[in-house]
């Protein structure tokens, strides 16, 4: 192995004062002028968690014979643009044209196992793993080329898939250097990575290539996948969570619906397979109408949901305790508020879809799951199969914003394909099943009690959070898969899932001497799982609404009050930015502006949001005029991609805040379509303006969930500012405003 003398080489390059040039210009002038190599700095920090099981370069990156490279990532594309971000970092480190970097996402047995795509963690895990693997690949290619060309590394130029000697002018392609091998070297610190000041792609607004395919109607989604001879299936879901099939009379089905190929009944799991999709729909409706199910356990009265939750919760667990809250609260006058958030749906625009084919040996599955490896584990347990005999390929679906129904549709397809081998079998969920069987974001209660000291600063802050699990994502516990619960024998979920997400961001980022968070976990009546930002949405709605209450109490401007409780410069900067963005706003009668701040998970991205609203006191209607965000995610990978995520997250969260709530009566879920579960429409959408504070020398953090939590509080604070009405019970509907 050649020693690279990186530090001396870097110094040499710096001393020469080379400036990086755009490589795309080089093709025409290669013979006259060599490109300069960008400066590199040693990365000596922590390697991403994703590299724990995928330590070698070739786990992340392959050199292809045709001059391209292929990057492998275990994350999935959800419309968040991760494919482009990964392409950018790889092209950057290897000084390649973007189009020469192909990205292969999530396929079992092929890409690294990166668990789930969620928690706004794909940039810091997957993209950073690819960065370090690509930088290590570069180092290794230079070392090998140095030997082959018999010249020192200092004499070599690496760009666009070739390495060239400045002196001899001889060059080798990456493929010629490797001679059919891949780079099996382990990625180890220190790693020389490109100085951000010389980035060509990273930090820029690189358009997403998949949008070009979308506008042309080219096959993009799992719903667009077609295989020769593919058959279509639908599942007849029970009438309630615990319902069991009593009887089904399918004798007239063949006469009633043409193209029916097979009806599958396994315990209370019922599926029907047909030649065409519409035939499968009609057949499933026929079977639904001709089947009898036991009734399910009654739901609580929806009016008393929050009392019901409190009544069933476990004894509280103290998850944070600093100073002496009990003592501080007992000694002074306190302020107390109760905030509530209902069950909310993922409500993906495209209902779930799954495709499977069993060839007698291997079960092939195509899914828009956010975690194909964990899904494989769950399926292997449910089907009692060797995981190596299950092969899952990730294909994009419609945006789902957490653990929705993708895995369940894949499970349906797997069960049915095993009963109909040799054919590709496609299961498409209906809108109603999507709305009813979705694992909802759980209802939450956040109670805050706090006091001020004599200097009008917060002295004590106590939070009580009532929360269900925030992740029941698939894993080897097969009961995480919906269909497994209806097989014979049924497989019920053994674990409670991830409870910790419920108190995320319940502890404010502000400096407070006496602070305590108690978590009350409950195991509620509805199927739940992770929804964008988990408990942070309810908790930041509470914390940031309450900060305005405390600012009032202290007689201070809400933003100044927040700034008085912050020491972190980056936190202060986003608040000051949003303050500046809104400073020129005039407020007409009935209009108000509200603000909210968050550092996501108290360790990741910073955001301050402002909302300007108008409140009509006669009918309680709230009009969203405009929303602003100032965001700091550290190093920005794709500027427009990030902006798009923030804009969209604010609008989605505005919809949750003003409109969304799972409705039910004691016997059934009643919000079964878009009329009964309305989301924000074009006439209601505010103008949005996003400002990014790019800090390329700071670690890159994810952004997908970041705009969601502060949006609700900014709107609630704006409504208060406009009308004097403070609504602590989401969603903020005209009825609640009129009642105030």
């Amino acid at each position: 192995m050649t020693t690279l003398h990186l530090k001396s080489r870097r110094r040499f390059l710096k001393n020469m004062g080379f400036i990086s040039v755009g490589f795309s210009l080089l093709g025409s002038c290669l013979e006259v002028e060599d490109p300069s190599m960008a400066t590199r700095m040693d990365f000596e920090g922590k390697l991403p968690g994703s590299m724990g099981h995928a330590k070698t370069v070739n786990a992340w990156l392959e050199i292809l014979e045709d001059g391209n490279i292929r990057v492998l990532s275990g994350k999935v594309e959800l419309g968040q643009g991760i494919r482009t971000a990964i392409q950018q970092v790889a092209a950057e480190e290897l000084d390649m044209d973007l189009e020469k970097v192909l990205v292969h996402l999530a396929e079992t047995g092929r890409t690294p196992n990166e668990g789930y795509t969620g928690a706004s963690a794909s940039i810091q895990n997957s993209a950073m793993s690819v960065r370090y693997a690509a930088a290590t690949a570069r180092q290794e290619l230079l070392a090998l080329a140095s030997k082959k060309l018999n010249t020192p590394i200092d004499d070599l130029l690496l760009y666009n898939g070739i390495i060239k000697s400045k002196q001899s002018r001889k060059s080798l392609t990456f493929a010629e250097i490797l001679e059919g091998e891949q780079i099996e070297k382990e990625v180890m610190l220190p790693i020389p990575i490109k100085d951000y000041r010389e980035h060509r792609y990273v930090g820029k607004s690189i358009p997403r290539p998949d949008i070009g395919e979308m506008v042309r109607g080219q096959p993009t989604y799992i719903q667009d996948l077609r295989f020769p001879g593919m058959v279509h299936a639908r599942v007849v879901r029970p009438s309630g969570y615990e319902s069991k099939l009593v009887s089904m009379n399918g004798t007239g089905l063949i006469d009633e619906v043409s193209g029916v190929l097979k009806t599958v009944v396994k315990g209370s799991f019922v599926g029907v397979i047909a030649e065409r999709e519409h035939q499968a729909i009609q057949a499933s409706q026929y079977l639904k109408n001709n089947s009898e199910w036991t009734s399910a356990k009654p739901f609580p009265e929806s009016e008393s949901l929050y009392d019901y939750i409190k009544g069933m919760a476990n004894a509280p667990e103290t998850v944070k305790n600093e100073g002496d809250v009990a003592k501080a609260i007992n000694s002074v006058e306190t302020v107390k508020s109760i905030f509530t958030k209902p069950y909310i749906k993922h409500a993906s625009l495209g209902p779930a879809c799954g495709i499977a084919m069993f060839n007698g040996d291997v079960l092939h599955i195509w899914s828009h799951s956010q975690g194909i490896y964990p899904l494989r584990e769950g399926l292997a347990t449910m089907l009692n199969m060797d995981p190596d005999k299950i092969h899952i390929t990730s294909v994009p679906g419609a945006g789902c914003f957490g653990h929705s129904t993708a895995d369940d549709a894949a499970t349906d397809a797997a069960l049915l394909a095993l009963e109909y081998p040799g054919k590709h079998l496609r299961v498409q969920w209906s809108r109603q099943d999507e709305h009813i069987w979705d694992p909802y974001g759980p209802a939450m209660i956040t109670e805050i009690e706090a006091s001020l000291d004599e200097n009008h600063k917060i002295n004590s802050w106590n939070v009580e959070v009532w929360t269900d699990s925030h992740s029941t994502r698939p894993n080897r516990d097969a009961g995480t898969l919906l269909a497994a619960r209806y097989l014979e024998p049924p497989i019920q979920m053994k674990s409670r899932g991830y409870l910790g997400g419920g108190h995320r961001n319940a502890d404010p980022y502000y400096t407070i001497p006496n602070l305590r968070v108690n978590a009350h976990y409950y195991n509620g009546p509805f199927r739940v799982s992770s929804l964008r930002s988990l408990g942070s949405f309810a908790n930041i709605f509470a914390v940031e609404s309450f900060m305005d209450v405390m600012a009032d109490k202290a007689g201070q401007d809400p933003l100044e009050f927040r700034l008085n409780h912050l020491e972190d410069e980056r936190a202060i900067a986003v608040i000051q930015k949003v303050q500046a963005l809104t400073s020129a706003q005039n407020k007409e009668d009935g209009e108000g502006i509200g603000y909210a701040f968050m550092r996501y998970k108290n360790t990741d991205a910073y955001i301050a949001v402002a909302a300007k609203v108008t409140v009509d006191k006669n009918n309680g209607n709230v009009g969203l005029i405009k929303m602003w965000a100032a965001v700091d995610v550290g190093e920005v990978i794709n500027m427009d991609g990030l902006t798009n995520q923030i804009e969209g997250g604010m609008i989605q969260a505005a919809s949750w805040t003003l409109k969304e709530e799972v409705t039910f009566n004691t016997t059934e879920i009643t919000s079964t379509d878009w009329i009964k579960y309305p989301i924000l429409k074009f006439s209601e959408v505010p103008e949005v303006e996003v400002t990014i504070i790019n800090r390329p020398s700071e670690n890159a953090k994810g952004a997908g969930e970041v705009p969601v939590p502060p949006t609700a509080a900014a709107i609630a604070n704006a409504i208060y500012n406009a009308s004097g009405f403070r609504i602590n019970d989401l969603p903020i509907t005209p009825e609640k405003i009129l009642k105030s």
Binding site: G79, R208, H278, L349
Partner: protein
Amino acid sequence: MPTYHLNVNGSQKMVETEADTPLLYVLRDYLELNGPKFGCGLAQCGSCHILINGNVATSCTLPIASIGEAEITTLEGLASGNEKLHKVQQAFLDEQAAQCGYCLNGMVITTVGLLNKNPNPTDVEIRNALQGNLCRCGTHSRIIRAIKTAAKNL
């Protein structure tokens, strides 16, 4: 089973299916088009929008038997030739007006329908025209910008 002759994107297609089959399933499942999307099957979300004689229509609830000789245009039929995009498609691309993009078919088709009738819509007219199109990712502000760009370039 009855046979239907459809005029889709400028060519004649023959389909044999039940009379009540909604046009969406004919376009996707029989004619293998990808533009119109299944979103609800209830005419509530706009994902399945197509143009019928230049007017926006909801294909998920429209039985094939009701179509007759009408000219059906899907997203695939907007571009002239293989290369050049329709001005509306180009504007959505230029403005990167998508996240997951599942609603994009409906947004583009509805915009073409709007601009066919009103080549210079106001902000309010744009929002009204798209009232039946849902977007879950929250890309509305980019979509409005794309429509304004398209109107300018038409």
